[in-house]
Symmetry: C2
Subunit: 405 residues, 2 copies
C-alpha cells in the first residue's frame, strides 16, 4: 500500500467521457489498496471561455475578480470526478483549494502557496476515501480566492504530496514524458526515463511546456520525486528526482525552444549606478518575469539594457517602464516579438567543456544568427529569429547526438 | 442615503450584455449615494447544463457533490458582475456564500441558513464598495459547500437584508410583480401594488412561481419589507410587507395554479393510531414536502391517505414508503401526476364568509371536478384535473372580480 498523489490536466478531464476514463484509472489504483489524493485541472477550454466572458463585461478585469471567476473551472471538475467515482462504487469526496487548506499569499492570479493545513483531508483519507482536490487555487488569509498562475495544478499536486508525505506523485498530462526535444519538431527526439530537478527546471523554464518552473522548484526544495506521464495510455513516463552521479555522463539532456518570449530593448538610458536596479525593481514589482538580461554601455555615458519577457506581458512592461524612464532621465523602449529562445540543458555541462562551442558552431553552420546569449552552470540559451527556431532545434539535437544515447 | 439589498435572478444576468445592463442599474442606485449589497443567481441555463454533465458521469450523483458543482454557477456571475461594475468605474467586490459568512445546516441541496457573519461584508460596505454576493449557496460548519434549494437566491437576499439591517430589499426578476393570476393564462390579471406576507406565502407555496415559500417566511419572521420587480424595465413592482388593516377589505387577493404537484394515494392501510404518523415521519425524514393531506377511513378497519407532493419527488416518495408499508402491515401506493392545484388567497377571508361557496359554484358551473379540498384561514385550495387548470383559473378570477378591484 502506498500513498499516492496524482494530477490530471485539462485535456485528461476535457469532457464527461474523459472524466469517466480518469475515474476508472483512479479506481484501478485504489483497488490495489493505495491511498489516493487526486488533483484535477479545469477541463480544457473552460478557462479561455471564462476569460472571454470577462473581457465582454470589462476591458481590464481586476485580478481579484479574475481569480474568483477562474476558480469555478476546477470546482466543476472536482465535483464531476467525485461523482464519476461514486458511479464506479468508489468512495470519494471533493475539496476546493480553500477546503483543502491551501493557504497562499495575497498576489492574485499568481499566488504562492504559504502553508497547507491537510488535517481535514487526512481525516477523509484515513476513512478510506479518495480525495479529489481542485488544482490551481487557494485561499488567502482574508478568505479571498486566489489562483496559482499557469501550471498551478502541478504545483497543487506537488505541494500536497509534500504536505501529506506521499510515497509517489504522478503528474498526468497529454504527453508521455519529457523528451530530448519537442517530438513534433524533432522527429527522432527520445523520451527520457529520468531527469534531475535542475535539468527539468531549465527545460520547464525554457519552454518544454511539460511543466512550469515553480512546481519543479517546489519539488526540488521538498525533495518530492514525481513522474510525468500520459493519462491516455499506460506507458511509463519520466521520473524527476535529485541528481545522481551517473546523470553527469550525459552532457546535454535536451533541447528546448520557447516561442512565447519577446525581446525588450531599453536603449539610451543614463549610465549611472542604480539605473538598471530601478528598471528591474519596477518590473519585479509589477510581477513581470524577466529573463536573459544583457547590458551594454554605449557611447557618451548611455547604456542599453536588453532582456526577454513573456509575450503576454510586453504591454504591461511598456506601461511599467514609461514612468521609470522619466524618473531616471531618458531612454527608449522597443519590443521585438519575433524571437525564440533555444536552450541546451544538462547537468553534465558542469564537468564537460566545449558545449557552447559545439552549439554555436552547429547553429552558425545552419545560418542561424545569435541575438542574445546567456549561460548557467547547466544550460546555454540563445535568442534567435523565431522562423529559424524549429530548424535550429533539429540542428542542436543532432549536434549533441541526442537521438542516440 | 439608504442601505439597499438587491437580488437579480438568472434571466437578469443571463449573458454578458444583461450583466452589463444590471451593472448600469446598480451604478445608477449607487450614484444616488446608497449603500448596496447585490445578490445574483447563476445565469439562466447554467444550472441545467451542470446537472446534465453530472448525469453523464453518474446516474445518481451525491447531494454533497451536487452542491459543490452547482455553486460554480453563482460564483461565475458574481465575478462577472463585479467586473462589469469596475468597467463602469464603480468599486465592487464579489463574495461567495462562504465568503459572505452565510452559515447553513448540513442538509445538502436544501440547506437552511443558520447564521450570517456579515462583518467582512460590512467592512467593504463601509469602505464604499458595492458588494456582490453569490445567491443560493452557503457553507456548513465542516467547511463544505451547501446550496439552499430552489429560490435560494431570494432567501440569500432577504437573509442578508435582515443581517445588515437594510432599509430596502428589492427582488428583481423577469416579471413586473405579483399578479392576481398568471397573466399568460388570465388575460385581465392585474399587478398588485402591495400584498401581505401571509398572502404572498400562500401564493408562493401554491405555484405563483414568483418566489419560494422559505424566502417569504424568512422575510415575515424578520419583518424584511421587500419589493418584487422587473430588471427589464423601471416599473414599480409589488411590495410585500406585514398585513395592515385596509388589506382586509379585499377578500381574495389572487388565484394561483400549481401544475408541478402530483397526488399520492396510500390505500388500504390498517386504521390504527400511529400509522399516519409513521407515513409522514418517513416522508419528512426524506425531506419530501407533503401538502393537502386528507384521510378517509374505509370499510373493515382500513384507511386511505391522500396527499400531494412535488412531481419531482414522486419516485423518492414511493421508495420511502415501501418499507414503511411493510412495517405497518400492508397498503398500496398509487400516484396521479395529471393534477393541478388551484387556490384562492386573501387575508380578507378571515372576516368574510362565502368564499368557498363562490369558488366551488363557479368551478362546478364550468364542469370542473374537485378531487381534494383543503383550506386555511386565508386560502382555499382544490386539486383538479391538470387539463382544466387554466380554464378554472379564468373562472375563479372572474368569480371574485379580480380584474376590477
Amino acid at each position: 500500500m502506498a500513498r499516492i498523489v496524482q494530477k490530471y490536466g485539462g485535456t485528461s478531464v476535457g469532457d464527461p467521457a474523459r472524466i469517466k476514463n480518469v475515474a476508472a484509472r483512479i479506481k484501478a489504483i485504489r483497488d490495489e489498496g493505495n491511498e489516493l489524493v487526486v488533483v484535477v485541472s479545469a477541463r480544457a477550454g473552460v478557462t479561455n471561455e471564462l476569460i472571454a466572458r470577462a473581457k465582454e463585461v470589462c476591458a481590464n478585469p481586476s485580478e481579484r475578480e479574475m481569480d474568483q471567476l477562474l476558480a469555478v473551472g476546477e470546482q466543476e471538475t472536482i465535483a464531476l470526478t467525485a461523482m464519476a467515482l461514486h458511479g464506479l462504487g468508489v468512495q470519494a469526496v471533493s475539496y476546493t483549494g480553500a477546503q483543502a487548506g491551501i493557504f497562499t499569499d495575497k498576489v492574485h492570479t499568481k499566488a504562492k502557496i504559504r502553508t497547507i493545513d491537510a488535517k481535514p483531508l487526512e481525516k477523509d483519507l484515513n476513512a478510506g476515501k479518495v480525495i479529489i482536490v481542485a488544482g490551481f487555487q487557494g485561499i488567502n488569509d482574508e478568505g479571498q480566492t486566489t489562483t496559482l498562475g499557469r501550471g498551478g495544478s502541478d504545483l497543487t499536486a506537488i505541494a500536497l504530496a509534500a504536505a501529506i508525505k506521499a510515497d509517489k506523485c504522478e503528474i498526468y498530462t497529454d504527453v508521455d514524458g519529457v523528451y530530448t526535444a519537442d517530438p513534433r519538431v524533432v522527429k527522432n527526439a527520445r523520451k527520457l526515463d529520468e531527469i534531475s530537478y535542475d535539468e527539468m527546471l531549465e527545460l520547464a523554464s525554457l519552454g518544454s511546456k511539460v511543466m512550469q518552473t515553480r512546481s519543479v522548484e517546489f519539488a526540488s526544495k521538498y525533495n518530492v520525486v514525481f513522474e510525468v506521464r500520459s493519462s491516455f495510455n499506460h506507458n511509463p513516463g519520466t521520473i524527476v528526482k535529485q541528481e545522481v552521479a551517473y546523470m553527469e555522463k550525459v552532457v546535454v539532456r535536451g533541447v528546448a525552444v520557447d516561442k512565447d518570449q519577446a525581446k525588450v530593448v531599453v536603449s539610451n538610458i543614463p549610465d549611472k549606478p542604480g539605473t538598471a536596479a530601478k528598471v528591474f525593481r519596477a518590473l519585479a514589482d509589477a510581477n513581470i518575469n524577466v529573463d536573459m538580461i544583457v547590458q551594454n554601455v554605449g557611447r557618451q555615458g548611455v547604456a542599453n539594457l536588453t532582456f526577454t519577457v513573456p509575450q503576454t506581458e510586453t504591454a504591461k512592461a511598456e506601461r511599467t517602464l514609461a514612468p521609470v524612464l522619466k524618473e531616471i532621465g531618458g531612454g527608449n523602449v522597443s519590443v521585438d516579438e519575433k524571437i525564440a529562445k533555444l536552450s541546451v540543458v544538462g547537468v553534465g555541462m558542469r564537468t564537460h567543456s566545449g558545449v557552447a562551442a559545439t552549439l554555436f558552431t552547429s547553429l552558425a553552420d545552419a545560418g542561424v544568427n545569435l541575438e542574445l546569449i546567456s549561460t548557467s552552470e547547466i544550460k546555454i540559451s540563445v535568442v534567435i529569429a523565431r522562423d529559424q527556431a524549429d530548424e535550429a532545434a533539429r540542428v542542436a539535437h543532432a549536434a549533441f547526438h541526442l537521438d542516440e544515447i
